[in-house]
Symmetry: C2
């Protein structure tokens, strides 16, 4: 095989507010690679099939943050790739791998980087679409499953309110909570998504843009668990509606990623936490991987195959569209899990 | 014994702002009682020795609040009393009891009210002053001990920052944390109190009114535990200085009690909680009584007797001065734990 293009999607600079597509990122198609002959040095080469595009990536653009993207280097994120050639028995030609990948077509890995990047061979005995391993059966699914279990500590009969409930993490949380016997309320930003939540996911739901959030929660009843994907006023409103010993899972703060400190509204009701003994805890999904991953892979793909865990996907084809796709994710314009499919 | 006076200190009406001593309270010495002959109906009679006067009592003057004082009835609060006669084996003549008491000299109790009011016999084998059982060995001490243990989950070698460290709860937290091998930083509002913390309590301390809190914490190093008595900007500044998996004990929000919502600054860094997996939890001391009371009484009075737990008291003699004492507590004019001693 002659050398083929090996395009990549670069991160150039940390934006102050919203990323600027024309300055902060760059699609670079200047490189080539020969997958058949490139030196593997005991490692293996993969061809990436799908990459996940997620809101948390905005955080990784901030210098100094954990796992910050490096200027001049490709974006990184979770993806699905196929092993083309291998010099290590751990990963073999034809294996489908889930793991943390650079945004490029072909990548040569050493075994250490494969471990560091949490590579896991996906057997897919349930025969679900591979892209789902980036959604409800991937990191967003793990986020919902691990966070609900470890921080939410749900008990059947309890109530949970999930913000951005129609998002990938949100739908997982809602559906697993429902499966585990909780009463579930979700909010989302369009009537169409409200309908999706009510009819497809089968939970109580409201449009936070056209309803009074405080009233909607009060109509539903006090909250034992609040799943926070939003922060700011939404978190503050949930806080005043928590039941005694309520738990708040801080998963995301989509309302505040692009707001400078001086303009942030702030959480004003932390005092409520005292008498009600409310607990609020940040969720970092990777901390629970060892504890829950096997249970997750034994449970969730099966739920998907059985139709118990519904999902929607928003697939964009072509690495060159990574930036636009992320912007639409950050602006909440897409529906379902945003997936970048590398090739038509 | 002939009947003796049984004075009480009455709550008359809910004040709108500052209580008015001449209208809202009344010292009533019109009643008498014969402690030797009064009917006990299977209960017991006590003579009160010390009563605790605390800022939280202002809240109990508001109608409809939790444990609100009732107009025309005596104030209630935690105190120390002695059993004079008893018809129940649970409490015997000569026992010293800690519990929730009406502000009056003599009280007849049934066994149910004793349980409801958390009565506990104080053995005082350490022979410390009984009034201390209302301070560092009483509710403020329990607040520090239970909160540090249950929510702070301290480990030797970790670091803790305590706001209002020179207050009764603060000094307990600082000294117990030090005893348990933590590095302790405290803040307070005067150079005199900073000196007290440095020299008497033996911890690192700074004056938050004349220092940059963020710099002071950064000089000390990242925080594994933050004990929050303040809320608002102090909480926000601690939040950005927490270590991974740090714990924040929300105990009080003294900066915000009298600030209307629209003027509150708000906590702007809850996002920090995610990557750092920070946990923030409200402390309601009574929830841990069953779990930790025995351990507390086995530990804290001993620490006091051994000089490992220092304290300051502000003792006022005479039930008729209850109102004035509370006013000075509410205005922050006293130093140390405010105690009402019933008799000279």
């Amino acid at each position: 095989m002659a050398p083929v293009p090996n395009p990549r999607y670069l991160f150039l600079a940390s934006p102050a507010g919203w990323p600027d597509l024309s300055k902060d990122f760059q699609y670079d198609d200047s490189r080539t690679i020969d997958p058949d002959t490139v030196e593997l040095n005991g490692g293996f080469i993969t061809k990436t099939q799908f990459l996940s595009v997620d809101p948390y990536m905005r955080g990784r653009m901030n210098a100094g943050t954990f796992m910050a993207w490096q200027p001049g280097e490709p974006w990184t994120g979770f993806g699905i790739c196929e092993v083309l050639r291998s010099e290590t028995p751990e990963f073999q030609k034809g294996d489908t791998i889930y793991g943390h990948l650079p945004f490029e077509h072909y990548t040569v890995h050493c075994i250490e980087s494969a471990h560091a990047n949490m590579f896991r061979v996906i057997k897919n005995t349930e025969n679900i679409p591979l892209s789902v391993y980036l959604g409800v059966a991937g990191l967003p699914g793990k986020t919902g499953y691990y966070g609900l279990k470890a921080i939410g500590e749900p008990k059947a009969g309890e109530s949970i309110y999930v913000s951005t409930a129609a998002g990938v993490v949100g739908t997982v949380v809602c559906q697993i909570a429902k499966e585990w016997g909780l009463r579930v309320l979700g909010s989302t930003g369009s009537d169409e998504k409200v309908k999706f939540l009510q009819e497809d996911v089968g939970i109580d739901a409201f449009n936070y843009k056209t309803s009074c959030v405080d009233e909607a929660i009060k109509d539903f009843g006090g909250l034992d668990i609040y799943w926070d994907n939003v922060g700011a006023e939404m978190l503050d409103t949930a806080l005043i509606n928590m039941n005694h010993r309520g738990r708040i899972v801080i998963c995301g703060h989509i309302a505040e990623y692009n707001v400078p400190d001086e303009k942030k509204r702030g959480i004003k009701h932390t005092w409520e936490m005292v008498y009600k003994e409310i607990r609020m805890q940040g969720l970092y999904v990777f901390s629970y991987e060892e504890q829950y991953a096997d249970e997750f892979y034994a449970t969730v793909p099966k739920m998907v195959a059985e139709g118990k865990l519904k999902y929607t996907e928003d697939i964009t084809v072509g690495l060159e569209h990574a930036g636009e796709l992320l912007m639409s994710v950050l602006k909440g314009q897409n529906t379902g899990k945003a997936i970048l499919q590398m090739y038509p």
